[in-house]
């Protein structure tokens, strides 16, 4: 059994990092997940001039300042991607493939993703549409499955599914070599729409359509509602109150994922508030014990 952290932070942009240093200052046992480059959006910014105190810097220079700061505070980034967070009651389980981390409170600082769901995707979620092919593959024994793959990892899942399903189609959404089993059929058309009645019946493409029983959408990053089942979303963003609390007790959110404006300073400010709220939540948990 692994240790249970006080606070787990998901995301290493300005929101997550500001949350991490403040939780650390309050002496909480924290863990932060993300990547060593902190945020791809930091690297992309040409010039940043609206960050109080740090001006006329490139995104990369700002990133280096952030990196120095967290290093000085002893904040270490765990270079792993969280697939799912489950609210168990008075703690959270964070899944990294087969590994599980536990924390009393969590802060979501995952930024925002710009790829939109397909038409019909949300409507048929759980009625033929899924995000984890290896999880649900046995339910499609002998049936037809379409896999829309946005990355290389999805090839592995397609191969696994093809061993169980009757027919597997693979629609690649990226360029590259696809190392697929022989019985997987590659479709080089653009998916437009998922249709069905009670359950999925077909996928409409820019040219033609495929009759199918199941569709798996395998993307790099997951939307907040897939990441944390049960979390309340409003207009595409995580719904929070002034304390950065979501609808789930012990779960906070900060940064672009909570809504516009998408800015560094706003993200950092929200990360600070979220950390302080999480700290008082964890302290209360201890008092009630």
């Amino acid at each position: 059994m692994s240790e249970r952290y006080d606070i787990a932070i998901i995301g290493t942009g300005p929101a997550g990092l500001e949350a991490a240093i403040n939780a650390k200052i309050r002496n909480k046992n924290i863990v932060i997940f993300g990547n060593k480059d902190l945020s791809p959006k930091l690297a992309k910014a040409a010039k940043v001039n609206n960050y109080l105190g740090l001006y006329n810097l490139t995104g990369t220079e700002l990133k280096n300042k952030f990196a120095d700061h967290i290093e000085d505070m002893g904040v270490e980034i765990v270079n792993e991607k969280i697939n799912n967070v489950y609210a168990m009651g008075d703690y959270f389980s964070l899944m990294v493939n087969e590994k599980v981390y536990e924390a009393k409170a969590i802060i979501l600082a995952t930024g925002i993703e710009y790829t939109k769901p397909l038409i019909g995707e949300e409507e048929f979620l759980g009625k033929g549409v899924g995000y984890c092919a290896t999880c649900d593959a046995p339910l499609y024994k002998g049936k037809t499955v379409v896999i829309v793959g946005y990355n290389k990892e999805s090839v592995e899942e397609a191969n696994y599914v093809s061993e169980l399903s009757g027919k597997t189609y693979y629609i690649p959404m990226y360029k590259g070599e696809y190392n697929l089993n022989e019985n997987v059929e590659i479709i080089n058309n653009k998916p437009l729409k998922i249709v069905g009645d009670d359950v999925v019946t077909k996928m409409i493409l820019d040219q033609g359509e495929i009759a199918t029983d199941g569709i798996f959408m395998l993307r790099d990053s997951v939307s907040p509602s897939q990441l944390v089942p049960g979390i309340e979303i409003e207009n595409g963003h995580i719904k929070v109150d002034r304390d950065m609390k979501t609808n789930i007790d012990g779960c906070y959110a900060a940064g672009d994922c909570t809504g516009t404006p998408y800015q560094y300073m706003k993200s950092a400010g929200e990360g600070l508030v979220a950390a302080l709220s999480a700290v008082s939540y964890v302290d209360k948990l201890h008092e009630n014990k």
Binding site: Y86, M88, G89, S93, L125, G126, K127, C135, P229
Partner: protein
């Protein structure tokens, strides 16, 4: 507390129950199902007087699973006699499931 039901006794256990029945469709290979089961167990402890709790292993019971069109697991269904009153697909926090069950009390 949580009754294991199968293709053979499903109708009897669910259809003949005076109380509403919450059925958890699961399988041993499904990660989210493993996370959900302690949550369901806690709910069974809290609500066991008014609500019956049952689970169906979809691997071993294909007839029931296809009858109720289980396309993704975990799926939790709320039954009253032989009618499905509510369906929840995927993991949900305890408070959410409780709220949905309470709608049918």
């Amino acid at each position: 507390m949580i009754k294991e039901v199968n293709d053979k006794n499903f109708d009897e256990e669910i259809g003949n129950s005076e109380n509403i029945v919450v059925v958890d469709f699961w399988a041993p290979w499904c990660g989210p199902c493993r996370m959900l089961s302690p949550v369901i167990e806690e709910l069974a402890k809290e609500m066991g007087k008014e609500v019956k709790f049952a689970k169906v292993n979809v691997d071993e019971n294909p007839m029931i699973s296809s009858k109720y069109r289980i396309a993704s697991i975990p799926t939790v269904m709320v039954f009253s006699k032989d009618t499905v009153k509510d369906t929840m697909v995927g993991f949900r926090p305890k408070a959410d499931i409780k709220k949905i069950i309470e709608r049918h009390l």
